[in-house]
């Protein structure tokens, strides 16, 4: 059993097929997935449900995933939740943006599930800053 087992993972992607794929995989890892269809939805659900980890697609209509991440990291009640960003954009220019937005990691689409699991486990194992 991995670190991810039993953890609640909120994930946001505007593409239904991607949500289905992720949901199936997260369930197989023993996580409890919560799906969001856009960034605002993700931010709202994060406040309501307080998941253990959040996965955000970067390019969603309306608020981008990075912007949502920034909001989550500013929120008193959500800033301790690790956020991973999945993106179809270029990783080289992205690394800095991701850091500025306060995300805990990112992956470029398409990715290997083993890479994603590693990132998730790493983020969950990291001691999070105390809620203040």
């Amino acid at each position: 059993m991995g670190v991810a087992t039993g953890k609640t993972v909120l994930f946001a992607d505007d593409e239904e097929s991607m949500r289905k794929v992720l949901e199936r995989r997260l369930t197989a890892w023993g996580c409890r997935p919560i799906a969001a269809t856009n960034s605002l939805d993700a931010v709202r659900l994060a406040r309501e449900r307080r998941p253990d980890l959040i996965l955000l697609d970067d390019t969603m209509p309306g608020l981008t995933g990075l912007a949502a991440c920034h909001q989550l990291k500013l929120g008193e009640d959500t800033r301790h939740i690790p956020v991973l960003v999945l993106t179809a954009r270029d990783s080289r220019t992205l690394a800095a943006e991701v850091r500025t937005a306060g995300a805990d990691g990112f992956l470029q689409k398409p990715f290997e599930f083993t890479e994603l699991l590693q990132l998730i486990e790493g983020a969950l194992a990291q001691p999070q800053p105390l809620r203040s």
Binding site: E15, L86, A88, K109, P110, F111
Partner: protein, 329 residues
């Protein structure tokens, strides 16, 4: 736009070769104007001289010869004026055409960039679904289902690679490929690359060997980009070598360090050597997978590092690729 961004744009504009050409042409045109003025003054002065000093009488104007003379001077002046206008127009047109070409090229590479990005999201879905399928997340697979699935997975991996390569080419052509340099030990980079290629070479029954001196050789370079260069060279060597082996050799000679990738494969015909490093160019039998982008990207990366890449080869005599980079300390 923030001020530093604006400043950077301005600097870019100043460095733009087309902009430079335009500026130098403007300067040239103003010199041309001065020259033209000088040139038109001379006949006018001669004319005045002839009228006032030589003939010293207005009767010259009454004479038919004098009329002709004046007429000729005016014609010459008009001719010069027209010629000047023609030259200016031609130069302007050329510059505009050049600019349009330039704009078209950026548009094209932006298009490639955009298309490649558009591929990534659907690719992620296909790959994710296939991987879920492969790992039995939708139920156990029959042995018959495994083969088409493996096949699809392989093709997805290929598409993924091509999309990455196209993005690189787009960046290279629009001059936007940025290096993230650090001080790195070449031995480490080469060890990682040969390790990554080990499986493929074993599968093909080839010996893959790395020769490098004990003493660490350092370069100031982009690790990922350099790995990409050597990965392509070694994969090429393996792909185009039916039997024998592949040697990777690292040497240092004064301020230059050299990486060689040599194989005992089918080699390259003399007449094909010139187009190897051009994008989409593939030579020989074409029986191996690939899109012909690897070496074009490699060349661009090496040259961005102030290095040089070249090849020595003959048909059926194996190939020998060289990469020379400036060494650090």
């Amino acid at each position: 736009m923030t001020p530093p961004e604006k400043e950077q744009r301005a600097r870019q504009r100043r460095l733009d070769p087309l902009e430079e050409l335009r500026a130098s042409t403007e300067a040239w045109l103003s010199q041309f104007n001065i020259a033209f003025a000088l040139m038109s003054i001379i006949p006018l002065l001669i004319c005045c001289y002839l009228i006032t000093v030589k003939f010293f009488s207005l009767s010259i104007l009454a004479g038919i010869n004098g009329m002709y003379f004046l007429f000729a001077v005016i014609l010459a002046l008009l001719g010069l004026l027209a010629g000047r206008q023609v030259i200016r127009t031609v130069i302007r047109r050329l510059l505009d055409a050049n600019e349009r070409m330039d704009r078209f090229q950026t548009m094209q590479s932006e298009f490639v960039h955009h298309v490649a990005h558009e591929f990534r999201s659907p690719l992620a879905i296909i790959k994710g679904a296939l991987d879920n399928l492969r790992d039995g997340l939708y139920g156990t697979l029959t042995s018959e289902q495994v083969e088409p699935l493996t096949m699809s997975n392989r093709e997805v991996a290929r598409l993924r690679r091509v999309v990455g390569d196209l993005l690189d080419i787009g960046q290279i052509e629009s001059g936007k490929l940025a290096l993230h340099r650090e001080l790195l030990v070449l031995q480490e980079v080469l060890r990682d690359v040969t390790q990554a290629c080990q499986a493929l070479s074993t599968e093909r029954g080839l010996a893959l060997e790395l020769q490098a001196p004990e003493q660490p050789i350092r370069v100031h370079a982009d690790r990922d980009r350099l790995s990409q260069v050597f990965l392509n060279l070694v994969t090429n060597a393996i792909k185009f070598t039916p039997r024998g082996g592949v040697q990777v050799r690292l040497t240092r000679n004064g301020a230059a360090t050299q990486v060689e990738v040599a194989d005992s494969g089918r080699g390259i015909a003399r007449e094909d050597l010139g187009r190897l490093f051009v994008k989409f160019e593939r030579v020989g039998a074409g029986d191996q997978e690939g899109s012909g982008l690897g070496l074009a990207i490699a060349k661009a990366i090496v040259e961005l590092h102030d290095g040089r890449i070249w090849v020595e080869s003959e048909s059926n005599r194996g190939s020998h690729f060289f990469v020379r980079l400036p060494a650090e300390g």
